[in-house]
Symmetry: C2
Subunit: 231 residues, 2 copies
DNA sequence: TGACAAATTAACCTCAGGGTACATAAAGGT
DNA sequence: ACCTTTATGTACCCTGAGGTTAATTTGTCA
C-alpha cells in the first residue's frame, strides 16, 4: 500500500518542497468532506489538519480562519455543480425533450452531489449568511435559469407549453424533489423505511417526477408512469 | 406587558415554589428555539440556560446532557406536527377533494412550522442518528401515510385515481416541495431573489404544486393554473 | 552569494462551553 | 417534628478546539 509512498514521504520529511497550489487543494478537499459531514460548528480544525498532508498552521496561512475556509468550500461545491449543469447541452433539443432532459439531469446531478446537498443544507441553517457574502455564486446560478428560460420560450412559441409557465417557479419545482430526495433521505428512511432508496425505486421516482413536471407544463401531456403496476 | 409578571416574579424571587413541569417546559421551549436556530453543536447550553427562567443546573437535572435535551426537543416538534396533521379531517371528503385538501394542508403545515423544518434539516445532517433512537417518532409518521392510503384506495375504487399510485411515493412527492419551500428559502433567495416568497407568490406556488399532484394522480385531470398570465 | 519573500514546522496560548460538586430549601410522608 | 426525596442555586472544573508566535527552510532575484 505504501510502495510509492516512499518518494512522497522523502519529499516531505528530510527536504520538503514548496507546493502551495497542491497544499491549498488538499486542504479544500479535506475541509469539504469535513464541513459536509459535520457542519460549520461541528467540523473540527484539528481533525481537518490531521487528515491533510499538511499542518493546521497552513490552514490559517491560506484561509485566515474557520469561516474563511468554510466560504471557499462553499464556493467550490457551487462551482462544481454549475459545471455539471453547463455540460448539459439542451439548446439543440426540441422543447419537450429538452425539458425532460433537464429534469432528469437535475435529479441525477443532485443524487450524485451529496457534498453539495449537505453544504447547502448547512448554509440554510445559517440563513445563507456566507452564501450572500460570496460574489461568485449569484453568477453561477444564472445559467440554469437561462437554460430553463430558453426551453420555456421555445416551448411556448411552438404552442406546446402553457403560456403562464414561469422558469423560476419551474426551477423551484424541479429542485424541490431533486434536492429533498437527497437531503431528507436519512429522516425519511428512519420514518418510513428505505424502500424508496433502492436503485430501482429511485429510477421510478425520477420517471414519475419527470412525467409530473411534463404534465403540468406541456399542453395535452398525459402522464402514464403511475399506470404501471405499483412499486 | 408585565402587568401580571409581578405575581410570577414574587413566586420565584423571595420564596420560590417547586414547579417541575413548568421548568421542564420552559427549558424545552427555549431549547427548541436554540437548537432550531444553531444546530446541535452550534447551540450553547449556557445561552439556553440564560434564556430560561431557571438555571443550567436544571437542564442537566432533567435532561442529562446536551444530546438528551436535543432528543426531547426533536420528539416534541415531531409530535406537534402530527397533531396538526391529525386535526385534518379527510375521511369525509370525496377522493379528489380529499387529496387536494391533503396537499394544501401539508404545504401550509410546513410553512407554519419552521422549527420543525430546521430541526429535521439538522437531524439529516446528523444522519438521523437521534431520530432512530426515538421509539415514539415512527408511530407518529404512520398516521399521515394511513390517511394518504385511505384516500388512494377510495380514489382507485371510484375509478378516479390511476391504479399504480403509491401512497408512500405520493407522500415523498408532496413532502418534497412542501419541505424544500421552507428549508431552502435562504439559499434560494440568495441565489435568485426573494420573489417566490411573497404571500401572493406562495399562494400561486401552492396552487400550482397541488394542481400538478392532481394531474399525475387523477385520471383526466387537466392542470389549468399555468394558463393564467405569468407571475 | 546573500538578502528578501514565500512556505512550512512545532510548540504554545486562551477561553468558551459542556459538565460536575456541594450545599440547601421545599414537599411529603409518618 | 423528623426524615427522605425532590428540586433548585452557586460556584467551580477542565478539556477540547480555535487561533497564534516564533523560528526554520526553500525559492528567487540582484
Amino acid at each position: 500500500m505504501d510502495g510509492s509512498g516512499d518518494r512522497d514521504s522523502k519529499k516531505r520529511k528530510s527536504s520538503w518542497r514548496k507546493d502551495p497550489v497542491a497544499v491549498r487543494e488538499d486542504i479544500l478537499a479535506v475541509a469539504t468532506q469535513e464541513f459536509a459531514a459535520h457542519g460549520l460548528s461541528g467540523a473540527n480544525i484539528n481533525e481537518i489538519a490531521e487528515k491533510t498532508s499538511t499542518s493546521k498552521r497552513m490552514i490559517y496561512y491560506y484561509f485566515g480562519d474557520k469561516e474563511g475556509l468554510y466560504c471557499k468550500v462553499l464556493e467550490g461545491v457551487y462551482a462544481s455543480l454549475r459545471n455539471s449543469e453547463d455540460r448539459l447541452d439542451v439548446e439543440g433539443l426540441e422543447p419537450v425533450a429538452a425539458l425532460r432532459r433537464l429534469v432528469e439531469a437535475t435529479f441525477d446531478a443532485h443524487a450524485n452531489a451529496p457534498h453539495f446537498i449537505r453544504l447547502v443544507m448547512i448554509e440554510n441553517i445559517h440563513n445563507a449568511d456566507y452564501l450572500r457574502k460570496s460574489r461568485i455564486v449569484p453568477k453561477l446560478n444564472r445559467s440554469i435559469i437561462e437554460k430553463l428560460d430558453d426551453v420555456c420560450t421555445r416551448g411556448k412559441a411552438a404552442g406546446k407549453f402553457r403560456q403562464g409557465v414561469d422558469p423560476l417557479q419551474l426551477h423551484w419545482l424541479i429542485s424541490s424533489f431533486s434536492f429533498y430526495n437527497v437531503s431528507n433521505r436519512a429522516t425519511f428512511s428512519a420514518s418510513f423505511g428505505a424502500s424508496l432508496y433502492t436503485k430501482k425505486t429511485q429510477a421510478i421516482l425520477k420517471a414519475r417526477a419527470t412525467d409530473m413536471v411534463l404534465s403540468t407544463v406541456v399542453i395535452g401531456h398525459v402522464p402514464t408512469t403511475w399506470d404501471a403496476p405499483a412499486g
